[in-house]
Amino acid sequence: MSDYKSGSNLEKVLKSGTFAFTGECGPPQGANIDVLKKKAQHLKGCVDAVNVTDNQTAVVRMSSWAASLFLIQEGLEPNYQMVCRDRNRLAMQSDILGAYAHGIRNMLCLSGDHQKFGNHPGSKNVFDIDSMQLINMVKNMRDEGKFQNGQEIDVPPKIFIGAASNPFGDPTEFRPYRLAKKINAGADFIQTQSIYNMDRFRKFMKQVVDMGLHEKCYILAGITPMKSVGMARYMASQVPGMDVPESLIKRLKGAGKGKVAEEGIKFAIEQIEEFKEMEGVAGVHLMAIEWEHRVPEIAERAGMLPRPKID
């Protein structure tokens, strides 16, 4: 038991060598708990942990830690996301302490989308520290029991530390090194950006494996099933750092009317099957945005059920 850094379910699953499966859930744009609970029910039993986004795309939603607590009540394990855009180091550390005290054990440390993309573009951003420094701060809080200023913490938060990696961001040649840097800063697991270009991802993973990074941390491959040709087009052209190959758009188009979503799910399942075999990939992170009700089916068809219970 004491071998664990945090003792979270996600950490136990990954450490056991089981192919992990995480999901995602966006908190409501309001205090509507019923919506959140409904989403949670779809994901329950299908995933090892659920990412709870933090004002994703800079749109105001219920706070990530508050929504995470509701997930705990619903019997799910949250992966509490935190971005550097909205909080300085004081607010971050106090939120981490509160989250931990309430039972949150996983965190995903992110820079955050710029506020220009969201619904309060006139806001001021913070960026007191960056995602690398956030990772390192959480690690020092956990392992050294110290605040960022070096002061001692009375009962340090034991958090399993996650970070993101975008294999398709530019400059491409630097991406594996940036991943290495995040691992050195303290990341225990990585969730990647949504993958559509499998060729590029295979190359990325080969380099990651050659560098031995997969032995120092768990890498979860990111998947977002395409619901429509429009969505694929939008992702291809409007989301910076996303790579959607033309061949995929063609394939979705070719599925014909009413069958595009099924084709999107088929592609996602094929991806999961390949990731299971791919060296260095420890699991899959499924970001089925506003499609939580399809997760049980995807999990079932991809052979991800039942999820393991590890004590």
């Binding site: 550097c84 855009r85 180091r89 820079s111 955050g112 989308d113 710029h114 220009k116 993309f117 951003n125 960026f127 007191d128 520290i129 960056d130 995602s131 690398m132 420094q133 390192n136 701060m137 960022q148 993101a164 990696s165 975008n166 961001g169 530019d170 400059p171 040649e173 630097f174 090194y177 940036r178 290495a180 840097k181 050195n184 800063a185 950006q193 910076p240 750092g241």
Partner: protein, 222 residues
């Protein structure tokens, strides 16, 4: 230099609508170089004010004066003999100018005639870009001489975010991703080790976060 742009003329006219004697004060420093607040622009703004008044059948008197620098009490003093003739002053220096004028001539109404934008320079004729955010502890030598604090939209210290695409920042295609430049430059120079070094959280006390700043150079204080 400090880069500024003219305020919309409508806004200026609105500001000084109730005044009959207006002095427009320019500055021969940065704002002359970026073509917004020098003697030439003083002349243009003064004529515009006169024409606008004539159109509305209003009598006004507009004076013109350009100081060596508005951020220096010695030069600001120069206005003492003429400023009494006017009841409003429009400064078209950077944001420092109208404040120095207000401090020296507290009884006058002083208006800003430009919007002060940033510290930067001209990258092309007619195009200026930001280079420094005045953080108070310069560290650009870690980053190949490029400043991620001022030039990365998220002031990242440890590498590009996931939104960097094709050399451009996720915020806009008009913004170059400075991290793309830093990475490419250092990799070309074989300085991958420098890129992999963890840069700890910055101490922002020397930046604006430490409160309004003041600099004392003992050896220069009389």
């Amino acid at each position: 230099m400090i880069v500024a742009e003219p305020k919309p003329i409508k806004e200026i006219l609105e500001m000084v609508r109730d005044y009959k004697k207006i002095l427009v004060v320019g500055c021969k420093g940065c704002v002359t170089v970026c073509n917004v607040g020098g003697a030439k622009e003083v002349g243009i703004l003064a004529s515009t004010l006169r024409i606008a008044a004539r159109k509305d059948n209003r009598e006004i008197e507009v004076g013109e004066h350009t100081l060596e620098r508005q951020c220096d009490p010695e030069y600001v003093d120069e206005l003492k003999d003429i400023i009494d003739k006017y009841d409003a002053v429009i400064s078209i220096a950077c944001g420092v100018g109208p404040q120095f004028l207000s401090e020296r001539y507290p009884e006058k109404r002083i208006f800003p005639g430009v919007n002060t934008k940033f510290m930067g320079g001209a990258v092309e004729h007619g195009i200026w870009a930001e280079r420094c955010a005045g953080c108070g502890t310069c560290v650009i030598h870690y980053f190949g001489g490029l400043c991620p604090i001022a030039r990365c939209s998220k002031s990242l210290m440890n590498g590009p975010c996931g939104g960097s695409a094709g050399g451009k920042c996720e915020v806009s295609k008009d913004i170059d991703c400075v991290w793309d430049m830093i990475v490419k430059k250092l990799m070309k120079e074989g300085r991958l080790d420098d890129l992999l070094k963890f840069r700890p959280p910055k101490d922002w006390t020397t930046a604006r976060d430490g409160g309004p700043r003041r600099l004392v150079r003992e050896e220069l204080v009389k």
